[in-house]
Symmetry: D3
Subunit: 248 residues, 6 copies
Amino acid sequence: MQLHLMSWPEVANYLSQRQDILIPIGSTEQHGPMGLIGTDAICPEAIANAAAAELGCIVGPTINVGMAQHHLAFPGTIALRPSTLIAYLQDYVNSLALAGFTHFYFFNGHGGNIPSVEAAFSEIYAERSYQRQGPSGQVRCKLGNWFRLPEVAALASQLYGDKEGNHATPSEIALTQFVYPHAIKQAELAPIHATARYATDSRDFRALFPDGRMGADSALASPQAGEQFLRLGVQGLIREYNAFVHHP
Amino acid sequence: MQLHLMSWPEVANYLSQRQDILIPIGSTEQHGPMGLIGTDAICPEAIANAAAAELGCIVGPTINVGMAQHHLAFPGTIALRPSTLIAYLQDYVNSLALAGFTHFYFFNGHGGNIPSVEAAFSEIYAERSYQRQGPSGQVRCKLGNWFRLPEVAALASQLYGDKEGNHATPSEIALTQFVYPHAIKQAELAPIHATARYATDSRDFRALFPDGRMGADSALASPQAGEQFLRLGVQGLIREYNAFVHHP
Amino acid sequence: MQLHLMSWPEVANYLSQRQDILIPIGSTEQHGPMGLIGTDAICPEAIANAAAAELGCIVGPTINVGMAQHHLAFPGTIALRPSTLIAYLQDYVNSLALAGFTHFYFFNGHGGNIPSVEAAFSEIYAERSYQRQGPSGQVRCKLGNWFRLPEVAALASQLYGDKEGNHATPSEIALTQFVYPHAIKQAELAPIHATARYATDSRDFRALFPDGRMGADSALASPQAGEQFLRLGVQGLIREYNAFVHHP
Amino acid sequence: MQLHLMSWPEVANYLSQRQDILIPIGSTEQHGPMGLIGTDAICPEAIANAAAAELGCIVGPTINVGMAQHHLAFPGTIALRPSTLIAYLQDYVNSLALAGFTHFYFFNGHGGNIPSVEAAFSEIYAERSYQRQGPSGQVRCKLGNWFRLPEVAALASQLYGDKEGNHATPSEIALTQFVYPHAIKQAELAPIHATARYATDSRDFRALFPDGRMGADSALASPQAGEQFLRLGVQGLIREYNAFVHHP
Amino acid sequence: MQLHLMSWPEVANYLSQRQDILIPIGSTEQHGPMGLIGTDAICPEAIANAAAAELGCIVGPTINVGMAQHHLAFPGTIALRPSTLIAYLQDYVNSLALAGFTHFYFFNGHGGNIPSVEAAFSEIYAERSYQRQGPSGQVRCKLGNWFRLPEVAALASQLYGDKEGNHATPSEIALTQFVYPHAIKQAELAPIHATARYATDSRDFRALFPDGRMGADSALASPQAGEQFLRLGVQGLIREYNAFVHHP
Amino acid sequence: MQLHLMSWPEVANYLSQRQDILIPIGSTEQHGPMGLIGTDAICPEAIANAAAAELGCIVGPTINVGMAQHHLAFPGTIALRPSTLIAYLQDYVNSLALAGFTHFYFFNGHGGNIPSVEAAFSEIYAERSYQRQGPSGQVRCKLGNWFRLPEVAALASQLYGDKEGNHATPSEIALTQFVYPHAIKQAELAPIHATARYATDSRDFRALFPDGRMGADSALASPQAGEQFLRLGVQGLIREYNAFVHHP
């Protein structure tokens, strides 16, 4: 049940019974020569929408731009500063909290979002801790990452081993291939570029990872594997989401 | 051509030929008892994607949350403060400008966004006027509103006259009905509520407009009319976009 | 009755009877070779002070610097970023709202202010919509533009036709000539420079409009016409202000 | 020479010869039962305009709202947060610095502005120290206070002794009486309220100083004394301004 | 070599040979009935100062207040909002980067700091990615946590097993006992309070963890164990720091 | 009694009896060829800790980085922008005020902090004046400067006359020599550099004061004098602190 496809009386009715919401969050950033720029939004959105059918929960509008400053040297990347993303998430959560939502599960497709999103949660809680807004303990936020769900990670490891890498991974590309079969790209890929160092700013990143991939053999991706990742992602999300919402 | 479905080398290739981008911008807000909460994002997104096929341009990720503070008293609404939206648009535009994009056409579905988006343009230009970033005159932003395209407004007027109203209008609802036929809502609608006064904050809005509609007879909407609105919207957008991009 | 010339007990007495205030807002920016840099502040201030005599309302201190980033390539211009102007207006309105003022009519002399001022209104309302401050619906802000009052626009059209232009217009210069006859400037004016494109940042503006005028034949201005504009401006402002304040 | 009454070519001509500017800064705040709310802006503005005739310098638009949070419990007060005033002054100075102004003399009428204005200077310099903007050492800001000019303070001491007090002082009220003779107020004044403690927030201030005066016998003011204060203020400002501008 | 005990020529000399700096970062927050409020600053500071003797590196001033909003319901806690901590770290790093420092190793004592510090790194890099400041790739920041050093965690596990808990742990208290033997506290401790849920705001935290400890049996701490933790912390920090600084 | 060496129940117990706190605030900045970079933090911290023994008050964690932008051209300096320092102090004070602290005495070692700290106080009060947080008049902040205590200034004048200067003064260096005898530096000092002009940004400062001292003959410092300064500082602080806390 996408929030965008509901009317407000339907939301009011939902809130009279439950107060949780599932929010896909991704990024708009390069994913190597054959990965889609929207990969990190497409993956959690697809899984969330499929899982919501069973969960019966509302899915909020996908946060499709995230913290991607390190990818800015590749065209097509859009990056929010952490401070912007924090302000954005504050408004997003505070708006829904006003209406009575209490449990916010952000389902994430981009590792680079994690610190900023967690910092945003603290900023949101801090407002309440300083007693500036609302009653205590009623807003609970959680971040889950689809690619770290145990069943997902296990399949990635089984299929790709250490060729999974860290960015433009075959697992995420496979999932997008299944969701958007007409957007599958072909590209000559250079041998996997190994580096022991993390990157800092965007030009540093590009110098370290010239085609944008971080140790990932994107070419191993297939739509068939993507379907498996979707199924396992749904399974994992349902379990994690229920654990979050039904926890005392 | 959605940016999210492209790879970065495809974007690089595009930029070697042209530097424009089309960006749908909407809102997540109540649209009366039978309008979809995502109406303002759905409409410009649908038109933009259809027009892009002919325009050959890239469509950026839809900005699906906007400045909707006045709707916050209805559940389901998510509102960015103007200051947040300005920061968000700065990062969105500056990211793409780094890569070489120069012409940013924002295609809008929500009247409430207009001042904040225009203010954001000025904030973006001001950075450059203060010489803090980049060369001069190379970033050009424009805001167009689908519901103010002459052909769209003419059809709305012809079909609905003054029952079109200002929010949860039959024209916008019609368009969403065509795009999402399975999400058509039924609702008992109170007689149109007339008011001469504009609203201020969200509780003031709800007191003035108890079911969320502003003088609009949403029930007049039909998917058939929606198809017409889509076709006219595409026609109008193509003309306006070309005028913007090809202007000397 | 200028707020600056009152004592606080006089304000307290006023507030026991009415809660409205009239606030001139302008800009400090180039107005072509013969226009005054303070034109956009001088015009609404002069009209507001004259109208207030009849309206019996308080006139707040003129906001004499506005959003003028596009004029920064001409010396003498002072520009607030939109974000700064928004913060400024928040504090201005919140201060007076604390004391009991409820109706804020901003009377504007500069088109470039409009989006930022409207965005500021939303930022002010949003504070209340998020329930962070004060009761609902008690702060009402409105922006009126002296140059768009029907009687003013009609006279400008009658006197100058399309030589009125959009910046450094003969109508605004005429009004300043009437108010400050000793500051009337003489200058050789180049032929009117026509352009179909809007400007972006300040260097782009100057490239498009080398002497600062936008299609305006400033030389047509006269103090006699200025007196007429003042009279019509007062007439229009009184009508608009009363409509705002006395609206249910 | 008020900036508002100049054209941009006149400013350009001035800048080809000198790069200094005099900027009155005041406040909009209660000044006791018989003081004007605009006192702190009126005083430095009147002195600055008179001095400028001899100095030949440009006078920028008066900053008529300042940091007055402690007066907010009295109606008519408008207060900028320090952070807002800092942002405002950044934009004010950066705008003029772009055009070539280098020496900014702020002539102040309100003690409460001092820390925020000095902090703003540091914020402006810090931008340059971090190398984010412009060449080094070219922007020089100075704050002078009219009421601390030695000749002004001496006259206040001679005329009023310790009845001068600290707010709504007879000296500042005298000056406004001379400038605005038609706005002279009469009021019954309670005996001077002595307090050894400084105030914190606005309600604390009002509890300590119930009618808004801080140890000042405002009733001693006279327009005649105001004329003397104006003359001495002009004399002192000219000396201080020249020392600032002509210093190596 | 503490930065605070050096002169600037000594720093200049150091920078001519190496460009790294070690920065302890902690928090000021409750640590249960017998833990010190400064625990999270004391631990990394003590280890850093001891390690620096061997590393030969400069130790920057300890960041002794951090992101601790969840502890605000206990007296003595001081918490920075994430946005404040981010701004603070930006200025800290940018200042030293101006002078030529390139490698910033933050040695952390508080888990709650991690997201905000990592977000701050991205904010710092983003400035450079947007090309707003300085050359690329020259500023490298890394966060290490003393309590996650393998040798430290191993000892904690060996000594305390699952009584180590997550806050006010015996290991951190032991270290402070060794460093400040005169500040060892005695307190009656309630049985360890188990909870499966994470906390949100400060009142929620206190409801979940009434005496401030999170599953930790603080009473197991001893100064003798503290000495071991210090020794192992130094050993681990030296290894990690060298790996960071000497990495290609 | 350092806050960092207390447990939260000890703080709770303290608050049941008194609500004041003493907070050393300094800077991290060059102090000439033989002064310590931490001088401005070391001095107030040492005096505060010694005075607290007699005062029985809590000493908060030292704020060891301040507003030092003008020193940024010398390596080792760390500077917060005024806006950052204001946000930092807001959080610092608001955190402790939540717990019940009411009297905040900041004991300062750096003249450059004064405007920003005073502005921060106003920002903190303004929050309350706008009624956004907490009851009125309960938070009282005061800034005292150790180097302006009458007995301290008298000794400096007696020992050093006009060779005391304004930065890297023999008095402050003497105090650090007494506190850190092993960190006493030797350096060839150029003759005292006299300048009548104040500095603006950091490069301007270095051009005016090439070795970082401002008219100070640092070489006159001795640990023996430092001991005297410490004793007099403690004496002065006790008097001033008591006057602040016990004032009605």
